[in-house]
Symmetry: C2
Subunit: 190 residues, 2 copies
């Protein structure tokens, strides 16, 4: 059981909260303009990339020693043709640079809200992948998800956030082109 | 029906040939040191990235006007921690720069040989994604795959090869860490 604070009450924040609640964790929400205080062990930044950067910039002390989960897909939403982060970086790396005393984990960006809520990608159990340089943070996240109805995969170091964000981006573009539904996408099969 | 030349007789070349043969196409093979001649409409570079670059460098005239399919995942196989192409580029873009008169398509790099051969990713029909700046080339490839036992998804312009290569890389790392099998991986669910 972990105490989890989700910043952001949109589709993704709610779906992630639902998953963690089923996992037996204590979930509380903050709106993205609320003061960042009374935080749990795990803090999920369930907000768009620009808002996540803003929160990180302004709250490094409050977020120190927390497991901070970045779920963003930092698309250029004007063009849907690139990411707004440098090509050799990732949203997670940019956020990590602003929060040197936090344990940054990239997760939940390769799962649509619909597949988190339903726990399935068209019949295939939903898998949450997580990348982090902190092995203990990944273990804590995996434990919090153990009874939540989703599978967990360790995607490696935080460097792999770049690949996860590419995958999230690609998944969004093929959904936007209506070749898959927003209840579908990439399933992970063992 | 298309005439298809596959350069490379390894696991991937054989699996791709099997798929195209079921699709009713005429498939011939060249070893990667054979002269690049008597080519079909579609040429699959089923060789490692460095060999694909070498073939492209030395055979731009023979490959002119051909649909050239790049299937590579350009990993640094010493470290398994990065790709050897520039971060803002892709193997497909590097090959395309060497073959200005060919129609370059990125495809087959997100499917392991095992999932092409079996046509399934642990029970989910295998999907071939294809990225290219040439819409006709993608249509020709889609038609060649129509009766082959795999699904086809248009992944957009050749720029998306970067994301496909990231996805291929990530899939290989989670297979190498034995969290999925080489007969599993990322299924595409609609």
């Amino acid at each position: 059981m972990a105490a989890i604070t989700i910043i952001g009450k949109g589709n993704m924040g709610q779906a992630i909260g639902d998953v963690f609640t089923q996992g037996g964790n204590q979930v509380t929400y903050l709106g993205h303009t609320d003061p960042i205080e009374n935080l749990g062990t795990i803090v999920v930044l369930a907000v768009p990339y620009s808002a996540a950067i803003s929160i990180a910039k302004n709250n490094s002390a409050a977020l120190a020693d927390k497991i901070v989960i970045d779920i963003t897909n930092p698309l250029n939403f004007d063009t849907w043709d690139s990411l707004v982060v440098p090509a050799d970086s990732s949203a997670a790396a940019e956020i990590a640079a602003l929060l040197p005393d936090s344990q940054i984990v990239k997760a939940f960006n390769t799962t649509f809200a619909g597949t988190l809520k339903s726990r399935q990608v068209v019949g295939v159990k939903t898998t949450v992948m997580a990348a982090s340089d902190n092995a203990d943070a990944k273990k804590t996240l995996a434990a919090a998800l153990a009874d939540s109805g989703v599978n967990f995969i360790d995607a490696g170091s935080l460097k792999r956030a770049r690949e996860m964000e590419s995958m999230g981006f690609l998944q969004m573009t093929i959904a936007a082109s209506e070749q898959i539904g927003w209840t579908g996408g990439f399933g992970v099969l063992k």
